[in-house]
Each structure stands twice: as C-alpha cells, then as structure tokens.
Symmetry: C2
Subunit: 214 residues, 2 copies
C-alpha cells in the first residue's frame, strides 16, 4: 500500500509508445468477458485492468459493443477464411472435409479466447445476432461439405449430414472447454487426434497393437 505512490504504471513506463495498441486492449477485454460475462464487464473494469483512463480506452474504441464486435470478428474471420480456403482447394470431397476440420481446430487453438467468446454468444444484441448469423452460414456450408463427401462415397452415407456435421463440430468446439496451450498436447498432435476420432472413430484400427497398461 505505502509503496504504491512511487510505483510507475506499466503503460507510462514504456517510453515513446502511446501505451497499448488496439489488439492488446482487445485481448485483455476478451479475457474479462470470458471470465465474468460480457454483460457484467464494464468499460471501467477493462480500463482499470489496463491501468488506463476510460477516455484513453475510448480513443481506441467507440463503445463496449465495438470491442465485442471486433473480438467476435477475430474468431469469425479465422473460421470463414478456413472455410473459403477449403472450398477453393482442388481436392476430393473427403479431403475437403479433412481440410476444414484441420483448419477449424487450428483456428480454435490459435484464437482460443475469441472462439470461446463466440461460442457463448446467445443473441442478446445486434452485434451478437450478426455473429450468430455468420455462425449459421458457416454451419450451413459445413453441412454441404459433409454431404458432398457422402455423395462422393468418401465418408459413410447412413448418417444425416446435418447430424454428422453437428456431432463433428460439437467435438471440435469442445476443445475450447478443456484445451490449454500449456498442456502437453501440442497443436499438431491435437489436430491429428481430432481427425482420427472424427473419421476413424475409436474402434481398433486393423493391425494396430492394443494399448499398454501404462
């Protein structure tokens, strides 16, 4: 307490810089949104966490809703660009499904807090409703990819494409609930495990040895 009067705030200490850039502020705000909920997080709380004046924050953003919009964009643009690349690739339907799964898992892990925020959006404002609309468009394209792979014969056709697609992405999206970048699973391992479970299931692969006891 008594030492705080001489403590130099981190922002001031960085000479020659205006403090935080928009991306850094966004990262801090998204962590707060995920921890305590968007509605319960005030602009004042974000400013306090950054040790900035509210007016300095408003230099970067017009409103809390604009912060939310940019944060959701971060997740959505990543997922949409994965989808676009997969659709543009000159590959079979089955390979396209693998591409989009691989890309989505990568985006989820690399933009974990942003996708976590996106997956919790319930449509309480125009910004949230626009985000849900883009998620729906993504899901719709995904069902098309699953369906094309079924018609081509690359994946089984006896499960409704909508159900298959939702189960796959239920699995993929659950990653935000339990994956921690500090965990022992590297991103590449995780991607391959998801692809394996998605396409081959847990049934024993022909010729593979059983697991050891330890």
């Amino acid at each position: 307490m008594d030492a705080s009067v001489v403590e130099v705030p981190a922002v001031v200490a960085r000479r020659g810089r205006p403090g935080y850039d928009q991306r850094q502020i966004l990262a801090v705000a998204v962590d707060l949104f995920n921890e305590q909920g968007y509605d319960a997080t005030s602009v004042a709380a974000i400013a306090e966490k950054l040790r900035l004046a509210k007016s300095a924050l408003y230099h970067h953003f017009n409103s809390k809703e604009e912060i939310l919009r940019l944060a959701l964009d971060e997740a959505l643009i990543g997922l949409e660009s994965t989808l676009r690349d997969s659709l543009a690739a000159d590959v079979s339907g089955g390979e396209r499904l693998t591409l989009v799964l691989r890309g989505a898992v990568t985006v989820l892990v690399e933009r974990l807090p942003y996708v976590t925020l996106l997956l919790r959006v319930r449509g309480n404002s125009d910004v949230e409703r626009a985000a849900l609309e883009r998620r729906r468009a993504f899901d719709h394209e995904l069902i098309g990819i699953v369906r094309a792979a079924q018609v081509e014969g690359s994946i089984r056709g006896d499960i409704d494409a909508g159900v298959a697609s939702r189960l796959l992405f239920g699995m993929v999206n659950s990653i935000v609930e339990w994956y921690r970048p500090t965990g022992k699973q590297g991103l590449n391992d995780l991607v391959e495990q998801v692809i394996t479970v998605a396409l081959q299931g847990l049934r024993v692969a022909p010729g593979s040895p059983p697991a050891s006891r330890e």
Copy 2:
C-alpha cells in the same frame, strides 16, 4: 389492462390443489435460467412467470440458490446413475463404454434443460462449485472407462484416454446446443448415430453403399 381485474389466475382456478408442485416450479425456473442467465433471473421473475406470490414460491424453496441446486441435481443424479449402472454391469470394457455413452445421451435428451444449465455452470458460488466438482468426478470415471477399453483392446490405444474421453463427451454434450425434442430425429436414432460416429467414425463402413444424392 381493463379485463385483468376479472381474470382468474391459472393457479387459483385449479380447485383443491395448492397450485404448482416443486417439480413444475423447477421446470419453469430452469427455463428462465437458460433463457436469461441465472444471475439475471430474480425470484420475483420466477414467481411472476408462475403467477404466484413470492411468498408462495418460498413455501417450496428457501432461496434461488436452492432452486439452482435442485435443478443441477436433476442433471447430475441422472448422469451419475448412468455411470453407476455402467460400472456395475457385467460386461467387457468396450461394452461398458457403449453403455455409458448410450446412457449419457439418453439423460441429456430426457433432461435437456437441466443438463443445459449444468453445462453452463462456471463456478460462481458454492452450489456451482459443488456441481463442477461432481462433473469432474464423472469425467474422471469416464476416462477410466475409456482407458480400460483401450487396455482390453476394444478401442484404439493410440489416442490419450483423456483426450479421447473429452472429444467423445464434447460430441455428446453438443447435443444440448442443437437437439430439439420436436425435431425429426427420434431419441433412439440419435443414440445410435452418436455411438456409430464415436466408435466407427465417418469413414465408409466396409461393404456399405455410398449415399444417394437426395
């Protein structure tokens, strides 16, 4: 507005009954919690929805937190009893995994609003933390079941049991996000589709015909 003075509340209209029983109140409260969030839902709002006085509500429950506890119990007891039955069954490890998956999907669908509430709990109070603790204990037992099936050789052993278990339940839990009891998928169909994707994956089953175009 002007007709409201002669309107007979539904509760009063049921002669010889005290109005709602505890289960019915619970169902209405859980729907409100899921729609607008637990924190944002007041006891007054629950009473209003039921057209009850707050005092009548307190005849059934001591507090809003008690309603939450009973609602979460509804989900947890279902899942825990599925787990207990699976562990007690005299079957192979692989069959035990199928049993617990089948049971969990059934509980999810049959107690959809309660499990939805459970899956959104973040640990903001003693009641929520106790529920999270029971979820963790469930997850721990589940990893044991996956691991035993791997050691036995019923399912592939080249994927970490923790990752496999979380991917499986990510898929299962996602059902609360998209399954609607009025949908065309009957419960039995859904259960079998989940088991199929979980154990066999989407790869084409040997000898099966490709999907038709429509």
